[in-house]
């Protein structure tokens, strides 16, 4: 739109007629905007003028809410009347590590009630760190006749009975994606709740459920769902059973195997290898529980186009993983256990030039006696071979300032840098100096213009730090500070200065009254929440 036309339509905001004369017809605009998927672009579009704001809100079908308390379901429903798909995130990230009280909040039910009234044609719901009960799952299953996709990650409060309700009632289900959750796994009978006539499932992920399922039921389900492209099994499915499933589903794009360690005859091994080799479309491979090195070659032919390989449940040695990685030239994401050691990581650097994400988990974090795992050398080796690396989670036994500086120099595009040195009190083991330089090399607190989330644990940061970021907090989604040096007075000051922020303090039993043990600060247009438990104070 020409600037002058824009100005005219802005001036005559109340006059719909004159606005229509000088801009696209609404239908055209909505059609065009319907194609716009990026949230940032949509945000920009909605700010152009009132017409565009309206066209955008009427054409939006998916809404992403990064913090469920930043807005209310009523506000969402009022602004976006045609939503079909919702992504909602609730609790602060450190709830994954038990740092948030169990009854903290983020209950989905209030949202579901509003959605049932305003979005009866809702198709997709993706939840992360929300509290969801079996009753809510049942309510979901019966309230939305068009419901197609459910994805749950790091949620809690439900059991496999809730899954049974979904399987029973959602006749059009395409996706059931149950990732790592605090689920009460009562049994595997939920799988049998899919009716015999049900054939639409394309995504089935139950990898993180521990109960045995009825294999016969599973085989029949996979057999009749001809469009299945994502299948992630749990440990109860054996190698032999995997082979039988794969024969019926060669078009799988994502496979999560079951237990990968069974005594196989030569013929059984060859059959498995053959079945895997027919999976030409596979781009994601996971599962591989307790994988035995001798069976890994069966995967080689399936790895040609692999972009994501999750070996974090297979305690592989460096030689085994090196041989496997030689067959994975297109890898972008790799998750491993630290049993691969630095030598294994050298192989990553040598074989996977396109790597963007690396996560190295500890195989045995509770045993002090055993000194093994990965060190700075492994990380550095990866950085030399993988310049596109930008997302790292690294549990190691030692690190140096120089190593971090080298890594960040080799890989300038870092967005997520999560380093965990397993041995407490470890300085740079070469120079014996504190890791200050490393911190400077990666990112500085006050110098990050695009900072979205900041989470700080057990640091000597105090009120000065908390209050120095005042302007920043409105453009950030949230701030978390726990076991720092922040006081209640500091928090009260923050709450007073910034009325658009919710400042919540979680007190711990027996702690000093003036200390703010855990502080969670986030922007919100819904005001302070009314469902916080007694242990959470809103200032």
């Amino acid at each position: 739109m020409e600037t002058s036309e824009l100005k005219r339509s802005k001036d005559s905001v109340n006059s719909y007629e004159s606005a229509r004369r000088s801009s696209f017809p609404d239908e055209v605009l909505e059609r065009v905007l319907f194609l716009l998927k990026s949230h940032r672009d949509r945000s920009s579009v909605s700010l152009v003028c009132k017409d565009w704001y309206n066209a955008e809100r009427w054409s939006r079908t998916h809404v992403f809410i990064g913090n469920c308390y930043s807005v209310s379901p009523e506000i969402v429903a009022r602004r976006f009347p045609r939503i079909r798909s919702v992504t909602l995130k609730g609790k602060p990230r450190f709830s994954d590590f038990n740092l948030v009280p169990e009854n903290w909040g983020a209950d989905i039910h209030a949202w579901l009630v509003v959605f049932a009234a305003k979005f009866p044609f809702l198709e997709e719901l993706r939840l992360k760190r929300m509290a969801i009960s079996d009753e809510s799952l049942e309510f979901l299953a019966v309230s939305f006749p068009n419901f197609k996709a459910l994805s749950l990650l790091s949620c809690d409060g439900f059991s496999t009975n809730g899954l049974a309700a979904i399987a029973t009632h959602c006749k059009n289900l395409i996706e059931l994606d149950i990732q790592e959750n605090g689920i009460d796994d009562i049994g595997g009978s939920w799988l049998s709740c899919f009716p015999e006539s049900f054939t639409t499932l394309e995504v089935l992920n139950f990898a993180n459920l521990t109960s045995d399922i009825n294999f016969d039921t599973l085989e029949k389900l996979v057999g009749r769902c001809k469009s299945m492209r994502v299948l992630k099994l749990n440990r109860s499915v054996s190698l032999e059973q995997l082979q039988r499933l794969l024969v019926n589903a060669p078009r799988l794009a994502e496979l999560g195997t079951g237990l990968f360690s069974q005594e196989l005859t030569i013929r059984e091994y060859e059959e498995l290898e053959s079945a895997l080799s027919h999976c030409k479309n596979m781009h994601t491979l996971s599962g591989l529980w307790d994988a035995k090195g001798i069976y890994l070659p069966a995967l080689y032919l399936a790895c040609t186009h692999l972009t994501f390989l999750n070996l974090s449940y297979a305690a592989l040695q460096s030689v085994e993983v090196a041989k496997l990685l030689a067959h994975c030239p297109r890898l972008k994401r790799l998750w491993v256990l630290d049993t691969v050691e630095d030598k294994g990581l050298e192989a990553v650097g040598l074989n996977c030039p396109l790597l963007e994400e690396l996560r190295v988990f500890p195989a045995d974090p509770f045993d002090d006696e055993i000194v093994h795992g990965v060190t700075d050398a492994g990380f550095v080796a990866v950085s030399f071979g993988c310049p596109r690396l930008h997302y790292v989670l690294y549990f190691c036994s030692q690190m140096t300032n120089a190593a971090v500086a080298t890594i960040v120099q080799n890989c300038p595009d870092f967005t997520h840098f999560r380093l965990c040195i397993m041995n407490p009190g470890q300085p740079d083991y070469l120079t014996n100096e504190p890791m200050d330089e490393a911190f400077g090399a990666v990112c500085v607190l006050s110098g990050c213009p695009k900072l979205r989330k900041l989470e700080i644990r057990d640091c000597p940061f105090g009120n000065a730090a908390l209050l120095s970021g005042l302007e920043k907090y409105e453009s950030m989604r949230s701030l978390w500070m726990s076991a720092c040096n922040v006081t209640m007075n500091g928090c009260r000051l923050l709450a007073r200065e910034m009325p658009w922020l919710n400042v919540e303090v979680m007190k711990e039993d027996g702690s000093d009254d003036s200390q703010a043990d855990k502080v969670y600060v986030y922007r919100s247009i819904a005001g302070p929440r009314r469902d916080s438990p007694p242990s959470v104070l809103t200032l």
């Binding site: 450190f94 994954d96 590590f97 038990n98 740092l99 790091s154 790592e180 993180n208 090195g293 449940y313 988990f361 500890p362 195989a363 045995d364 974090p365 509770f366 055993i370 549990f395 971090v404 997520h416 840098f417 999560r418 380093l419 965990c420 040195i421 397993m422 041995n423 407490p424 009190g425 470890q426 300085p427 100096e433 504190p434 890791m435 200050d436 490393a438 911190f439 990112c443 607190l445 989330k453 900041l454 989470e455 700080i456 644990r457 057990d458 640091c459 000597p460 940061f461 105090g462 009120n463 000065a464 209050l467 040096n485 000051l493 200065e497 027996g510 702690s511 000093d512 200390q515 043990d517």
Partner: protein
């Protein structure tokens, strides 16, 4: 605004200056007195995105040993599912399914310990023993044991009997091996 400025000036900014190391390298104030009473004080871990890992002073705690890591809230920062997997694996391994076993060598002044879980086969184990004790054990044959070698690796099984390493399948060996002994010299050559 004024309140904020005054508040800032009152603070000891040194206390909040970012330090990432052990105390004693500079005069670190006793900030930790203000912290909660829970035991997870001497831990070190990461925060996300824009901060990096911060170490906590560990030297202060020389009088009282740090608590076992499992008991510490939120440590290590891994999700419950993975944590449970690790703990279940440990439970299943239990006793005698391959853990640290003592290794003695005739003539050596002290014993060593190795983790049988680390190895997947006899050749790997033997190579490790050769490296550890700086000797050559040689090839195993069913008929002749380690004939030709000055050393023979033996182990004590669950029944208390001393057996030659290599006779039973690897998995079975790992399950029943209680300790290892590297025999030397004529005694070793006698084992066929």
């Amino acid at each position: 605004m004024e309140t904020r400025v005054n508040y800032k000036n009152e603070l000891n900014l040194m206390a909040t200056e970012l330090r990432l190391g052990l105390p004693g390298s500079d005069d670190k104030p006793s900030i930790r007195n203000n912290k909660r009473n829970s035991p997870d004080i001497s831990e070190d871990y990461s925060s996300s995105k824009s901060s990096s890992s911060i170490t906590m002073p560990g030297d202060d705690d020389q009088d009282s040993p740090p608590p076992a890591k499992e008991q510490v809230v939120g440590w290590p920062p891994i999700r419950s599912y993975r944590r449970n997997c690790i703990q279940n694996t440990k439970k299943n391994k239990g006793e005698g399914t391959g853990m640290y076993v003592k290794v003695s060598m005739d003539g050596a002044p002290y014993l060593r310990k190795i983790d049988l879980r680390v190895y997947k086969s006899y050749p790997q184990l033997l190579k490790a023993l050769e490296t550890m004790f700086k000797l050559t054990i040689g090839e195993y044959s069913e008929r002749e044991g380690y004939n030709g070698s000055d050393y023979a690796p033996t182990y004590e099984d669950k029944d208390g009997d001393w057996m030659l390493v290599g006779d039973v399948p690897w998995e079975m060996f790992v399950c029943c091996c209680k300790r290892l002994r590297i025999m030397k010299g004529s005694e070793a050559r006698g084992i066929v």
